[in-house]
């Protein structure tokens, strides 16, 4: 149905024609439509499959233009701050994986308009793990960078 909506909205002239539909809930203004949660990728329980489920991130090329800054040792795995900057041109999205977490994919962030490809997030890390940032560009290329974080006290159980 989204496919159809896009086609319909391409012709601006039909917008007036469709406006009565807005009230029926058949057409929802784009601003309130959040991206659908990527259940297959988030629910996957090992890093290899999670990377594949996210979309060929297992074949991403390693890039020095993705900068991950994070503590080398995190005493408390319940809140580990990780800062990621992509210096790759036309970065569209950023995904963060913690290899050893029960569900490795932690977050997907998509940038548009004035937003720069930068994010600081707080993650739970179950144990000492490699964290990877996967960047997708507008032309469909995938890049990755890694960072090892030692965790003294895991943040998932309790």
């Amino acid at each position: 149905m989204f496919e159809l909506r896009r086609k319909l909205l391409k012709g601006g002239s039909v917008a007036a024609l469709l406006s009565p539909l807005l009230g029926t809930g058949l057409l929802v203004p784009t601003s309130v439509l959040a991206a659908d949660w990527n259940r297959p990728a988030f629910g996957t329980r090992n890093i290899g499959d999670a990377l594949k489920a996210y979309g060929n991130a297992n074949t991403a090329s390693e890039s020095p233009d993705i900068v991950i800054s994070a503590p080398e040792i995190a005493e408390n795995g319940a809140k580990v701050e990780i800062e990621i900057t992509s210096n790759i041109e036309n970065t569209r999205s950023l995904a963060i994986f913690a290899d050893k977490n029960p569900m490795p994919l932690s977050a997907i962030l998509e940038f548009s308009g004035p937003a720069l490809p930068y994010a600081r997030v707080q993650l739970k890390l179950a144990e000492t793990t490699r964290v990877r940032a996967v960047v997708k560009t507008l032309d469909g290329k995938t890049h990755v960078a890694f960072r090892e974080i030692k965790v003294t006290l895991g943040g998932c159980g309790g």
């Binding site: 319940a78 998509e110 930068y118 600081r120 739970k124």
Partner: protein
């Protein structure tokens, strides 16, 4: 209805730092309470950051994001008087939206 989303935007020349605090338990479904009962999974799944009504960041999160997570983003070309709004939706279908005017 979740707790208020705290949004702060600080303009530094052409750049703006945006900080967003989403108050949410972000329950993994793996923790147990004092009585040994497993606490049900409950976490923010999607969020959107908009600038003057247009989406600029769309996020999807897993249970592995911390409780009451603080996010920081950067944007270019945001001006005083612009509106930044943030909304989230969690795994229980709960929603929250808040906005600020950049000063």
């Amino acid at each position: 209805m979740g707790e208020q989303i705290k949004i702060r935007a600080q303009i530094k020349g052409d750049m703006t730092d945006i900080r967003i605090l989403m108050q949410h338990p972000m329950e993994t479904g793996q923790r147990k309470d004092d009585k040994g009962q497993t606490l049900a999974m409950h976490f923010i799944q999607t969020f959107t950051v908009s600038h003057n009504g247009k989406t600029m960041i769309e996020g999807q999160l897993n249970t592995s994001v911390s409780k009451n997570p603080l996010f920081a983003f950067k944007a270019r070309g945001i001006k005083v008087g612009d509106k930044i709004s943030v909304s989230w939706q969690d795994s229980a279908g709960d929603k929250r939206q808040d906005e600020i005017i950049v000063s």
